[in-house]
Symmetry: C2
Subunit: 312 residues, 2 copies
């Protein structure tokens, strides 16, 4: 385990909540003694990061002089929405970037396919990472201390399930250790399986959260009463369920664009279950409820990892 101490220069390309939290984590690590180059889109973000000393050098992405810093880095960590990441990796390949590249994207199949296209023409050292953490906020000012500690990082080591790992072993190990040294647990996954799993565990739920907020927000009498109440009427259950509604529309646009088929399948299954349950509550509300609820609780516990499933 010695990735962090080997890094002389790291570029964090896109310092939003995730990238800025990463800069903070690096600064906190005893092993990291390198220099952080940060890249942001707006002057406001640049000023904020400078002020909070969360990068050694901070550039607007468009600044021409930033290019030499970027291309001289040992490691580039991309903190962009997934479609922007793809464009950026193409650019790095064009520029014959020799260092290692990783990212933090929430979908993997489309990006990995594009990487294979790039590899037909150019050498590129890329290992895909998906750290399973974040929040509904965006922007450097929302960075979270210890965001990565004791969380899961999925590392993509192949395109398809039944293929052998196709990433350079040394680079794969380097990136794994990078996250481990920041306190993360690692799970290796092929990109296809990743996108199927995440459509259920993250992407479809995001849409459901937004739907809930939308349907409730359109109830005029309810909203009026809610605003007249001394504190909002909602309890903790709904508060938690709509927390992620509408978080970073561009990030989610890219996620859905690159994982639409899986997400549609997941949404249609939720739709089918919702229709069935609504119809059964309306017409035959009786003892099935208890079994259904007990099962839902058991499923929840299995998903949480606090209970065993029958699938073992």
């Amino acid at each position: 385990m010695a990735s962090l101490e080997k890094i002389k220069t790291i570029s964090i390309y896109g310092m939003g909540l995730m990238g800025t939290s990463l800069a903070y984590a690096l600064r906190q690590s005893e092993n990291f003694k390198g220099i952080i180059y940060g890249f942001v889109k707006t002057q406001k973000s640049k000023d904020w990061i400078l002020q909070h000393h969360l990068a050694d050098h901070i550039f607007l992405s468009e600044e021409k002089k930033s290019e030499s810093y970027l291309l001289s880095s040992d490691l580039i960590l991309i903190g962009l929405p997934i479609l922007d990441s793809i464009e950026f990796i193409k650019y790095l390949a064009e520029m014959n970037f020799k260092g290692l590249i990783t990212d933090m994207g929430s979908t993997r199949w489309e990006l990995e396919c594009q990487i294979r296209e790039i590899e037909k023409k150019k050498q590129i050292r890329f290992v895909g990472s998906h750290p399973m953490c974040g929040s509904e906020e965006s922007g450097p000012q929302y960075y979270i201390k210890d965001l990565y500690k004791n969380k899961l990082c999925i590392i993509i080591h192949k395109l398809h399930k039944n293929q052998p790992p196709d990433r350079n072993f040394q680079d794969l190990e380097f990136i794994s250790n990078f996250w481990k040294e920041l306190g993360m647990e690692i799970d290796y996954m092929d990109s296809k399986t990743h996108d199927y799993i995440l459509s259920y565990l993250s992407h479809a739920p995001h849409i459901i959260s937004s739907i809930l907020a939308t349907v409730i927000g359109k109830q005029k009498e309810l909203i009026k009463r809610n605003q007249e109440a001394p504190i909002p009427i909602l309890g903790g259950g709904l508060r938690d369920m709509i927390r992620i509604a509408g978080s970073n529309p561009k990030m989610w646009y890219d996620i859905i664009s690159t994982n639409k088929e899986n997400i549609i399948v997941a949404l249609k299954e939720i739709q089918k279950e919702l229709e069935k349950i609504t119809e059964t509550i309306e017409n035959h509300f009786d003892d099935w409820w208890f079994e259904w609820q007990n099962n839902a609780k058991e499923y929840r516990n299995v998903i949480y990892g606090i209970s065993k499933s029958d699938y073992e």
Copy 2:
């Protein structure tokens, strides 16, 4: 504000998470100097509450000798599922109970209608309360310190919107002050409006949470991968969204039984929005997404009370 100090004896009938948290809150209050009688269903709960000194006297509901304690109380606070509360209030009316009664039920219309039926034959002093707090757990061992502090308590003061308040003013004031002195904010509502609002803000979301857990839990490959991972794959978004799945099936059976019409309307609207969004993502995924997401975020903020709506 002097309700708590007037209470010589209070019966908490049903000491689950809510009732036990209330006993704790009373014990913490400087103003409360009365005696707490607790009533539970199981020997296990009885032992636990005794051991933790959360009642002065604790009885199994079925114990015959408990009746004289119960019926001599100044105030009975009911911590039962709503259908059980209705039966229990009928019993108290039969026994000509002279003290004041309140409860903590999540639906109000059915109960208030039944109270009006009872009042045709018997005198009864009842004021309905719905403290907006709790958790997905049940049982006295899950009691929460400060559960009621800075939360909203809805107090039902009439059956219908356009009627004058029909609860005895002194009793209404007493119960309002009771909750205020425990740190709660008060909102008065008619029972019909309450049930409409809560179907959107609580009841339908509970069902959606259970549906999500169910659909995901049935994905065998996903669950297998989730269990093989060093820590569960899910992020904070889904974790929060399925937290309330399957909480206390009997409590929720009663809630749905007594608010079915409103809940069905809410579920069908969610269904309609889900169909629309799924279809639009599948066939025309483009710029509408940004507006829809920005609106969802704004709706969320309005529901949270951190933003203004157009409805004012």
